[in-house]
């Protein structure tokens, strides 16, 4: 029986290789040629491919860069909500994973043409084939505006997370407690661990309706040190994309303005965001659902978290 199956499959392979493949050859050749020429014609006539948002970026590994990229993308999508595709052109970096940028771009639900280069000249060369209007030079690509990108209420609702990751994120929270409230937490990595744990312990004790999820890597924590009701999705095997979806799914956010805080913010959920630290220079938040505070004095984190949770609790009631 098994032998007969193997013979049958190998016969099918031969038929495919020597007959069907030759039937496919002219069809796919013609289809590719016509579509390719049509696309080039459109770019030539209109200056760029229709319904496409093109973003070029040099990854430098600096703090706040992914946040700035996320904000730029949200603002651009808000301006052009009908865009169907994102052409993302990146110059990679040896010390920073480009997978973070890819995951951020996927959060907006458009077709993504992800294009990675190892130098600005290669990116510039390819950009000439994507746009006929303003061609990016390597100098343009390396130039970055010092101004912060402003996230306004127009960006709320621009997210369209991939369905599987979105479902996994929701189910993760439901398996912890389907009727609980969830608050995402991101602390600065240079806050003393004792201070972070003290803030979390107090939050868990004073706000029993809430669970807390730490979405950044939080690799500096030993998970056994954390109080119950504080969860680390990164330790459950969730990648950055799924953790971004968790940030969109939680009920609130407290912490620094990292990519997770920004995602909760533009999801329209209440967020208490600490600016003036880490990535603050990259993004400014002008959203009605976001309460921004400056940097905290030493040892003030437990009080800040308590104040923020108190406000969140009042809004729920």
């Amino acid at each position: 029986m098994a032998k007969a199956t193997v013979v049958w499959i190998s016969n099918l392979k031969l038929v495919d290789q020597y007959i069907l493949s030759y039937a496919r050859l002219p069809f796919h050749f013609l289809e590719t040629s016509m579509r390719g020429y049509w696309n080039a014609l459109l770019v030539h006539q209109r200056g760029a491919a229709p319904n496409t948002l093109m973003i070029a970026k040099v990854v430098s590994g600096e703090a706040g860069e992914p946040e700035r990229f996320l904000a730029q993308l949200a603002v651009a999508i808000a301006k052009d909500p009908d865009c169907k595709e994102i052409d993302l052109l990146l110059v990679g970096h040896d010390d920073f994973p480009v997978t973070v940028y890819s995951a951020i771009a996927r959060m907006f639900g458009r077709r993504l043409n992800f294009q990675l280069f190892w130098n600005a000249q290669a990116l510039s060369d390819v950009a000439r084939t994507l746009t006929a209007s303003s061609v990016l030079t390597p100098e343009d690509i390396h130039k970055s505006s010092p101004d912060a990108v402003a996230l306004t209420s127009a960006t709320v609702g621009t997210l369209l997370p991939p369905p599987l990751s979105k479902n996994v994120a929701r189910e993760y929270l439901k398996t912890i407690n389907p009727s609980s409230y969830f608050c995402a937490i991101s602390f600065r990595c240079d806050v003393p661990i004792s201070e972070s744990i003290s803030a979390l312990t107090q939050a868990v004790e004073c706000y029993p309706n809430w669970h807390f999820v730490m979405l950044n890597d939080a690799s500096y924590f030993d998970s056994q040190e954390l109080p119950l009701k504080v969860h680390l999705p990164s330790r459950a095997g969730f990648d950055v994309l799924t953790r971004l979806c968790i940030a969109a799914e939680v009920d609130a956010f407290i912490g620094v303005d990292d990519i997770y805080g920004l995602i909760t913010s533009i999801s329209g959920k209440p967020a208490h965001v600490l600016t003036g630290v880490g990535s603050s220079s990259a993004v400014s938040l002008a959203l009605s659902n976001v309460d921004c505070s400056g940097g905290l004095p030493h040892n003030d984190l437990p009080k800040y978290v308590d104040r923020a949770l108190s406000k969140l609790q009042q809004n729920l009631l």
Binding site: Q17, S21, Y22, R24, L25, P26, H28, F29, T32, S33, M34, R35, G36, Y37, N39, A40, L41, V43, H44, A49, E85, D87, G92, H93, D94, D95, P97, V98, T99, S102, A103, R106, R111, L112, N113, F114, Q115, L116, F117, W118, A122, D125, V126, R128, T129, A132, P162, P163, L164, S165, D217, A218, S219, L232, S234, R235, A236, G237, D239, L241
Partner: protein
């Protein structure tokens, strides 16, 4: 001629082209490394120093026949999960992953017009013919040139992997292990290739005494291990600490010896300079890799790279690991003296 096409043609002439079209090629880790090696060989044969990689992943198209579970619903996650593997090819000028049919058609049209060197050939691409696991070109290249272009650590993950080493591995010797356990996942395919979890568990328990200085880094999908492995003191699972494929591949390509089932990670080791022993090599693959069943090494393998075709048992794994340990121990000695 259209200026856009002219610019594309000018680009296409410079570099060799690798095309991986998921309408007929599988989303598979092991086949990715084989494909990357074939692309490098093609580029070398035609004297191109740089390579442009083009991946075609159209959401509206289902993956090919034997991956019916990959649909528009989960395609993004599958592709994102594989992405670090495509960063392991040196001499790459660009990696472009297209979800737009028209845009990729423009790129391929320019390759036609410029008679670009590509793997697979443009004719094979239009015929939808690619044997992704075949070693025939690789073996032929090695037979003629006596060397093989190797893959390297994916860019972007070095610092975080260094952090992983310093925090979790410390002074112990890291050994990368992968135990194929697709039966534990949502997409159980080719289950006859799965390893015996019991055999590996027995081996790892014995290893605590026999190789007390070794730490086994269990790599692979988060669902591909039973919980009892996480309790072993000599086993570290990077995905339990927020690390992923990019970090695991960096460890492997930076030289941490590989010991594991014939599967995706073993293909990474196959095309690396890393010492390895690949276990439970599937007998059916003998034809693909152009070797008789039982052959102890790939033709292009280095001195410390072995294959084993038997079903795993605890004692077989101990014997195989002893050989790998001694070989890499000798290398460490040489390096230390050097």
């Amino acid at each position: 001629m259209n200026l856009i096409i002219a610019a594309e043609i000018s680009l296409s002439r410079k570099n060799a082209l690798g095309i991986l079209d998921f309408r007929y090629a599988p989303y598979a880790l092991g086949d990715t490394f084989t494909w990357l090696t074939n692309v490098q060989i093609k580029a070398h044969l035609y004297g191109h120093k740089l390579i442009d990689l083009v991946l075609i992943s159209l959401p509206e198209k289902r993956a090919r026949g034997h991956q019916p579970y990959i649909t528009s619903y989960n395609q993004v996650q599958v592709l994102e999960g594989l992405l670090p593997a495509f960063l392991t090819c040196p001499s790459v000028n660009s990696l472009r992953i297209f979800q737009s049919k028209n845009k990729v058609s423009q790129r391929i049209l320019s390759a036609i017009l410029s008679h670009a060197v590509s793997w697979p050939t443009l004719k094979s691409h239009f015929q939808r013919l690619l044997d992704p696991a075949s070693h025939s070109c690789i073996n032929a290249f090695y037979a003629k040139h006596k060397w093989l272009p190797r893959l390297h650590a994916p860019s972007g993950f070095k610092s975080e992997t260094q952090y992983f080493r310093s925090r979790y591995v410390r002074q112990r010797v890291p050994i990368v292990i992968n135990i194929r356990q697709r039966a534990l996942t949502h997409d159980p395919a080719m289950l006859h290739r799965d390893s015996s979890a019991d055999a590996w568990y027995d081996f790892l328990v014995q290893a605590q005494r026999r190789w007390a200085n070794a730490t086994f880094i269990l790599v692979g999908g988060f669902s591909e291990w039973e919980r009892r492995f996480a309790h072993l003191p000599n086993v570290i699972i990077p995905r339990m600490f927020g690390f992923g494929l990019g970090h695991e591949l960096t460890l492997l390509f930076e030289g941490a010896p590989f010991f594991g089932t014939s599967s995706g990670f073993s293909a990474a080791a196959t095309f690396s300079n890393t010492p390895y022993t690949i276990t439970k090599v599937e007998h059916q693959t003998a034809a693909n890799i152009g070797l008789p069943v039982g052959t102890e090494r790939y033709p292009f393998a280095l001195d410390h790279q072995w294959l084993n075709w038997e079903n795993e048992t605890g004692s077989l794994l101990s014997d195989l690991f002893e050989r790998l340990w001694l070989a890499t121990d000798a290398n460490r000695g040489v390096n230390a003296v050097g």
